[in-house]
Structure formats: structure tokens, C-alpha cells
Amino acid sequence: MTKPLYAQAKDNTEEEAFADTTEIDADIDMSFDNASLERYGKEHQQAKKDKQTTLHGFVEYRVGLLSKDHSQQQSINEVRLQTHTKYFIDNAMFFAFKGDLLHDARLNKSKLELRESYLFMRPHPAIDIKLGRQIVSWGTGDSLYFNDFSPKSWTSSFIGRGDEDAKLPSDALRINAYNNKHHLDLVTNLRFRPDEIPQGERFSGNHKNAENKDDWFDKMTYALRYTYENKDKEYSLYAYRGYWTTPSESVPANRYARLNAYGASVQGNLGKGISNIEIAYYDSVDNVNNKNPLINSSRFRTLVGYEQEVATNFSVGIQALYDRIEKQADQQLYTLRLTKSMLQQTLKLSSFSYYSPTAEDSYTKLNLDYRYNDNWTLYTGANIFSGKKKDTFFGSMQDNSNIFLGLRYHY
């Protein structure tokens, strides 16, 4: 027989490499007799006994500072305790709970935030029902929401809260029906909740409708999605009947104008990466013939995106958005995401930028997440705004660029 290769590796010291032993260590028992199965069985029993705790969550502190001089320099200063659990009523029904206890030292208030509190039921093998407070997400965009009218919190993003805070929960009845490759998802929002947008109390600038925080309206909205899974692509159709999730300047009664929307998307592998195309038509029902400049106009929206790992542990994602707005100038927006993970994925660096050549504004989010161990994670980063005009979405935030630091303990 041929001599083993790399025999010289034996000379290596333990520090720089492992010894290249040609013999198998004697302690590997490859006999596969009944004893091996018995031993496995015993360990299996032991594993069964290991009881899992049911309560999980984290405690977190986040603090942030605005870059420019303000009467109040802090952008964020809060402590959050989150707890979540699931309780099974029977094999096809459970209750999920997730709640936050928040002390906001910046705005000097404490509150309880219920993020999830829903009942899950599977009345039929092909039907799932979720009733109660829950987070709803769909669509193919990365931090761009075309056909997803569930509430978002731009404020959370702008002050450097966790990723999960970018979405706000809805009070909804959600019915999912499945038939092999077909999937129907119907969300009835029992109360309409708009997006949370930056307000004067925390930021300076030209903020319209600064009083929309924690608003819920006793109005139902409906969202429907149908998805067809092909071999390596997903095709979706969307429909929405409800309200604009951002306020219009003049609808004094409810501040939110009615909106019907229809959309479609396709997502799948393209070359070495993932690409997506999503379109949506927004019908601004309250703005008859789009003559009212104070209400958002109807529009046709197009999004194209591509994401790929360009080097080991380094990926790049780009998106282009084009809005064709009735009786107004068209809008364009581009995004760029760069993500690099290091040190066995314990350190993650990322940057996400929005840039609009038409609104002449931009927003860049820089993040560094370091998982010291399974319990402790450190978050730090910056939110950088710029703009030529003060009345654009990101431009209005240009005096509010900030840096933040957070520490989270998971239990």
C-alpha cells in the first residue's frame, strides 16, 4: 500500500497544527453491536429528561446622542425588558405572548408594550388561524415595503433600536390556507394602525403630523396575498383595502386617506444570487382624479433588487425603486446593503443606505453587532441623514444624525 501522504506533518508542534496520526484512536467503537444501541438509548432517555425552560427574553439598555447641538442631546436612552413564551393548549393550538416593559428616560415615561398575544389554531390540516396581536410581514423588498401595509416604526430605525422594532404589531385575524404549492394568506386588521414616523418631541426638523404616535383607529383593513411556489421561484399577488400608512396633510377627520392597492412579485435565484421584482398600484380613493395636492396621489411603484455573497462572509444587496406618481414628478430611490461577518459570525458589520436622486436626500445606517457569548450582545452604530431640502422624508431629519450604543442580555 502507498505510504500516507503528509507524513512530515508529524513534526509539527501542537501549537501550529494538529498531529497527523495515521492510526485511528482506540476509543472509537465502530462495532455497532447491541451495546451501542443500548448506550444510545440510555443517552436518548437522558436527553428527554432535560427540561427546557419556557420563559425567554432579554434585558437591554440603549443610549444615543445627536451629532448636532440640540436642547436635548440624547436621541435614545431606554431600558427594555422583553419576555416571550408559548403555551400549548393542545397539539393543534397554542397561545403566544411577547411583552416589553420599557422605561424611556429620554421622554421620561414607562410603559408596557404588548408585541405578541395571539391564539394559533389549526382547525384543519391545511388551514392555520392566528387571532390577536401579532407581527405581520410579507413582500420581497429589503426595508422597502410595497405591498406590506402592516405598521412600521421609522422612529425605531432612526434612533438605532433593534431590527425587530422596525415592525409594529397589528391586532388581526390571519387565515392561512395551503395546498401544496399554493398558499393563501388573508389578514383582517381589526384596528388600523399607521406607521410610526419621527416626531418633534424627539427630533428637530420639519415634521408634519407629529402626533401620530401609538395611534390606533377603529377601522378595519384587509390584506390578501396569494403565493405560488415554483421550483426555484416564488410568485405572489397582493391586494389591500385600507388606508395610507403615512398621514396626508389634509384629511382632518382621520388624517389618513383611504387606499386600495394591488401588486405582484417574483423572487428567485439568479446566477449566484437572489433577485426580486415587485410592483404595486396604489389607488388613492379619497383623491378623486388626483386633484387634491394635500392628499397622496395614486401611483405605480416598481422595485428591482439583487443580492449576492461576493466574497466569503461578505454580501452585497442593491435595490432600485421607481414611483410613477399621478400629476407629480416621478420618484426614484436606490438602496445598498453591505454585510460582513467575522470571528465565526460573532461580529457583524453592516451598512444600509437609502439614496434618492429625485428627493435629493439620503439615509445611511451603520451597524456593528458583537456577540460576546450566547447571553451578551453589544450593538453600536450610527444613523446618518442628509438632504438638500428640509421637506423630504430623510432631508427633514438632516439635523438628527446620531450614534448609539446598546447592550443586551438574553435569558
Binding site: 502507498t2 505510504k3 500516507p4 501522504l5 512530515q8 506533518a9 509539527n12 501550529e16 497544527a17 494538529f18 497527523d20 485511528i24 476509543d27 472509537i28 467503537d29 465502530m30 455497532f32 451501542s36 448506550r39 444510545y40 436518548h44 436527553a47 428527554k48 427546557q52 419556557t54 425567554h56 427574553g57 432579554f58 413564551t85 408559548k86 403555551y87 400549548f88 397539539n91 393543534a92 397554542f94 389549526r122 392555520d128 401579532q134 410581514s137 431590527d163 425587530e164 422596525a166 415592525k167 398558499h183 411556489e229 426555484d232 416564488e234 435565484n269 449566484k272 444570487g273 437572489i274 443580492e307 449576492q308 455573497e309 466569503t312 454580501s315 465565526q344 459570525q345 450566547d374 435569558y411
Partner: protein
Amino acid sequence: MYQFIFIVLFACLLSFNANANEISAREIINKGIMAHYYAGRDRVSVGYMRVEDKQGNILRERRFTQLRYIEGSGNRERNQKLYVYFSEPTDMRGTAYLVHKRIGGVDNRWLRLEKLDLIKRIADTDKRTSFVGTDVLYEDISGRHLNDDRHQLVDETKNYWVIKSTPIRKTGSDLAAYKVWIHKKTFLVAKRLCYNHEGKVYRRFKTLKVANIKAKDGQRFPTIYEAIVEDSRTGTKTFMKSDKIQYNVGLKPELFSQRILKVPPLAVIKGFN
């Protein structure tokens, strides 16, 4: 075209090899792949991984449920569907991966982020990168393809075939070659050493415990259920253990669709509550 010529040459080379030895290195590796990655039609197991530093301090722990479904039949690599649901650590709880592994094509991969109710299709990544922060590589989970390497029988002992494999395609990774000890009776890997471009071992995998697990239909599948992998570059080692391994429980391929990402199998989430 070059690829085609290469394959033909490679095939000739292989047939030559096959004549030279009773069983070719390629055949042994293929049987090894079959024994570990293609045992049974489906498989359910609970995985545990523990990353330790040199002093033996525990740095990270992972617990997950793994479901696997293998398409078709035969003794060759075939398309597979894999699902991994994490229950520990806390910040990964509810995170799940779905992979439709395609032989000779690009894999389809999805990620579920429970916190955001988000299902994200993810791009194919370098398979020789860390699996959820451990010394285990994605490739160890999904398996290296037979055609990724040139295989050469370098030694034979009473119980083991020793094979040296060299990657055919040069990549940026440290892997220049690896040597594997394959158990003659079961074709399971007892040990694997990875060599860098200087010919030094930088990574080693060692099987610790095996069992001949009986499937529901009475078939038996020799299975590695404890192993350790060490990496000299990170200076850490990862201990792996599989519990509750079950073969041929009757998983349906339809299970591995968007739905499993939307709502994890209820028995799986219930098991961790």
C-alpha cells in the same frame, strides 16, 4: 467544453483506478456519502453543538431540530430537502433554515426570522464557512459533493480505508486537501484531517460514538451520534451530538415548503416549550 473534456478524462482516470484496486477511492467516498447523508428516506433528529476554547470553557451552545428528506432512490447523490429549527440560544430561538439541495444546480435557501415574521430567500453562500458560529461548516451539514474532489486511496488498515481527497476547483479557502478514514464495514467516517496549502493539518473531525439505529420499518442505519471537530485557526473545538434520531418516519416532501417556514412543525415547537 473544457469542462466536458475534463469530465471525460476524469472518467477515464476513474475507470483506470477502479481496475487498479478492488474498490476505487471514488466508490468508497460515494459509499461514505451515502452512509452519512443518504441514510433512509427521511430523518428526524435533535442536534446539540457546544463550542469550547482550549481551556475547555464553553463559549457557545446551539440546540436545533433537523428534518431531512431525500428525493428518489439509488446509490448516488440526489436532491435533498433540509430543515433546521433553532431552539437555543435565546436570540436564535424560532430561527429556521430551509434548504432545497440540488445536485448539479444552485441550492434554494430560505431563512425564517420569527421576531419579524419574516421569510427571506437567501443567496447561496460559501459552504466552507461557520455554521451558526461553531467550528462546524455548512458543508458538514449538507455534505461535500463527490465530484468536488479528486479521490485517492492512500492506505488501508484492518478496519479502515484511508483516502486523500483534493479539491478540483481552486477556491480562496484554506483547504488544500483532506484525508479521511472510512470504516470498511459501515462506510462511516471515523476521522477527517484537513490540510492547508502548506501541508499542515488545521482542522480535524473525529467520530466519538456510533449506533446502529433501527428505523420504524425495521431497517438499520449505522449512525454517528457524537463527534468533535477542532480548528487550529480559531483555537476552538465543537462537540456535536444528535439525539432522538429517527429514520423513515414518513415525512412528506410537501412539508418542506414555505409553510414550514411560516409555522414550524407544531410538534417541534411544542417539544421546546
